[in-house]
Symmetry: C2
Subunit: 212 residues, 2 copies
């Protein structure tokens, strides 16, 4: 029943799936079902039942043989696994179309994600209210990141400025970066960087669709 983080290294592929299961469980919570078997979950999540049981077994024994998993308990366990108990503070750089959309998106807060700072180098945008934050000038970045205890930096600037912004974020003490600029950024290996490259998503989608 113990949640065994850091005991043995859990495969990287597991975590996105755990988060995916959590999505499904959140949907199921709205129904009147109390328990669910790995087989049923499999059909909704499009992941094999074997895989689901193996993934969960990485972290403990949550299921009842003969019955399945208690939905509301499973949710708690999954949240524990990914460590979503406390709020995660986000800082955004680049308040363009995409940046504004992210700041104004209402869905993050209930997921434990919260924008606490936003930056732009355009004086015209500085001072503007976007979502729950007031846009600051990029010159304030380092100071504000520390003051607001930002955990994750989000890059939503143009290709030309992305590397430079990444460097500034790292200099400000950020260890986790989500990059939306369609460019390959280099960071020291102690920094965790993930890219969301929509052109790549769309082209991969087309490829898989054609070669299915």
């Amino acid at each position: 029943m113990n949640i065994a983080l850091d005991e043995k290294k859990v495969s990287d592929a597991v975590i996105p799936r755990i988060l995916h299961y959590l999505r499904v469980i959140q949907q199921l919570e709205k129904s009147d079902k109390m328990t669910i078997s790995s087989e049923e979950l499999s059909k909704i999540a499009n992941v094999s039942a074997f895989q689901i049981r193996k993934d969960l077994a990485n972290f403990g024994k949550f299921g009842q043989p003969g019955t399945g998993y208690d939905i509301s308990n499973l949710k708690k366990y999954l949240l524990d696994i990914i460590g979503s108990k406390e709020m995660c503070n986000l800082g955004l750089v680049g308040v363009g179309n995409l940046g504004s959309a992210l700041l104004n998106y209402k869905g993050f807060e209930e997921e434990g994600l919260k924008f606490v700072a936003a930056f732009d180098k355009d004086e015209g945008k500085v001072g503007k209210v976007c979502g729950n934050v007031i846009v600051e000038h990029s010159n304030n970045l380092k100071e504000s990141i520390k003051k607001n205890d930002v955990h994750i930096g989000i890059i939503a600037v143009s290709v030309d400025n992305a590397q430079q912004v990444a460097d500034k974020l790292i200099e400000a003490g950020i260890f986790s970066i989500l990059n939306f600029a369609p460019v390959v950024i280099s960071v020291p290996k102690e920094i965790t960087l993930r890219d969301v490259d929509l052109s790549i998503e769309l082209k991969a989608l087309r490829y898989f669709s054609v070669n299915k």
Copy 2:
């Protein structure tokens, strides 16, 4: 030298990496370098040189032993592999914050991706010009999708409407869907669906950062 598509099934993991190499090559094109070795490419792309050579070998022999890869040729080959020669038509459903940002993003066109239609159920948005398209009412979806030859449908509506929109897109003849709604959508197996779930990206980022 032949591009051997559909000869033997290429692993799914290869394609996103191919697109990633293409990003790097596009950046390199701006420099005055003419050729690059897998070793040099490895450092920029953060992928092992073995991996790069293996990935490319899936599709043919592009490299010069002793020299490396000709940058502008490699670009052509990579574009061939992923079939990016002709324009890919995009249709968007849900002209909210995120939807508008996507429609107004200038970077897609040069990547061979083009919005040709956008839909919303809100009468107030219908008729508005966003990027290169005029927003249509969702009731026109089926007709307009066919008329404009939309290849990929993009879902940027709320959680509650996502499944229904997916069903409508499929009914309209769409086979490829990119879903931004943070919900698990079910589609028939002949449909290719990819999710971009930003909350999951952020939480995975945090997990990997903490457990690094």
